[in-house]
Subunit: 322 residues, 2 copies
Amino acid sequence: MNSHGDSSKGELELIRRLSRELAATTAEGRSSSARERAAVPFGDDMAALQPGDPSLLWTTDMLMDGVDFDSARHRWYDIGRKAMAANLSDCAAMAAVPVAALCAVALGNSLSMDDALDLLRGARDCGMRFGCPLVGGDTNSWDRPTVISIVVAARTEAGRRPVRRCGARPDDRIFVSGPVGGSILGRHLSFEPRIETALAINRQLDPHAMIDISDGLAIDLWRVLEASGCGAVLEAASLEAAVHPDAVRLAAQDGTTPREHALHDGEDFELIVFLPPEVPTDACRRLGLLPLGHATRDRRFLLRERDGRRVEVEQRGWEHFR
Amino acid sequence: MNSHGDSSKGELELIRRLSRELAATTAEGRSSSARERAAVPFGDDMAALQPGDPSLLWTTDMLMDGVDFDSARHRWYDIGRKAMAANLSDCAAMAAVPVAALCAVALGNSLSMDDALDLLRGARDCGMRFGCPLVGGDTNSWDRPTVISIVVAARTEAGRRPVRRCGARPDDRIFVSGPVGGSILGRHLSFEPRIETALAINRQLDPHAMIDISDGLAIDLWRVLEASGCGAVLEAASLEAAVHPDAVRLAAQDGTTPREHALHDGEDFELIVFLPPEVPTDACRRLGLLPLGHATRDRRFLLRERDGRRVEVEQRGWEHFR
């Protein structure tokens, strides 16, 4: 992840540079207090739609043929489903209830009308299961691979705040909402956005920070640490208990370790959750949360092996624009 | 425009088929009254973001390199500006005040960091001029031409409804907010979204229907007629007075007529406005509105030549996915 260092390119660096500029102009353009501006800034899983109202959020995700899906292998219906589900996963990350969606597409000219309808039906049906109707969009075509961009608006529940990625504190306990790694074997298309889990966590457990795993457990967890200004120690034994069987299968094929896949594979779309140290273990277990470790004042991101040795976790994962 | 007839492909046919399906599922998914559902349906310039609240609207527009812009000739800043302005033009079409925007991009790998920043700065700066900050987005890259998709949320002014495209009535007078045709000579990049004009029209003139010209005067005007269940007669003399000098220049180059360009060129981003028959001429003139003709009960779309002869207007224009 040289973009964390001195790289002049990379999605993170682009977002970082743009965020700096936008922070200034957003403050100018909106007559909001510093506190309101800070409510949900550029760079979280969702953004506040209106100044001074962190209860209405929105997010957008763009998927491209050959990058996020492969139309030669995947069904258009499943591709549309994934495009919607990726946005709904962002809603989960903020503990927000989806309200409605828009969909813009650049359809490859080779698609039939039925392909195009299947793509949109997949998105629509997935949205509907979460109370999030597709209410409009923009339909385009071109002689290139298909691009689909969905935007979802969501509301926080009454009396609840959105859970941001910058609220983690030293000694927080770190959990993941399900086993991770090896999503490329199929779950990257068929995953379930963890909205119900996220809402339950927000109602019951006073979470300090959450994020969904889109680019990888290590890099997305690191994003929370960076935004919150702390570090973390993951326990190797806990991590190994959170490895998905797909990661084991994949490791057997490619000669790496299941743990590598669990740490660095993208598109698990499980939640990483930071909870106060005193959180009741029972409640976490009931919600299916798997412990990973804890946050630290020390800003390093470490893995504690079973023998007590601590090794640095690489902040490696999928990053666009490198 | 065979998609109006029996074509099995074409953006309009796709939207038509999807709208039929979505109308049913949206009704299921939202516990809203029939009247609320009808407030702003799929297929207008913007959609209602929340059921039962037509005051908060949103829209999305996707632009693709080689289709909506040409990165070999256009500056990235201007391309970003256009992407934002196209969305703001949709706000104008509904007489809505922009609130905030999100931006998703698939950046071609050949772009430098500065190119990418310029693209986003162009979008941001254009939004800021209309009080519409860019508050978030999704940054991706690939080995293909750049795609930029912006979504804008907007509010109606207090006590005002959004102006829809389905409200035109027989005998309405039809206007355009400025001269049209030949936008390809430059205005397709540099156009001004007609938000101020639209808000003034909505405050002062009780408009029955509006739309912005994205695909062409004839086809976009026809969309209002189709949505409203009426026809129209345009006056040739009026149309000729609404021809942009660029249309004249272009006609001199390509051997067609300025009128053809005025009727069928896309991306003028002027407003087509349907006003009650009794609207005061002075008020229209003050707002820069140019008369074109009137709506009719007869569903045909006709042009009355100076000699009184009536000819059918072709509903031809830019249509994606054909």
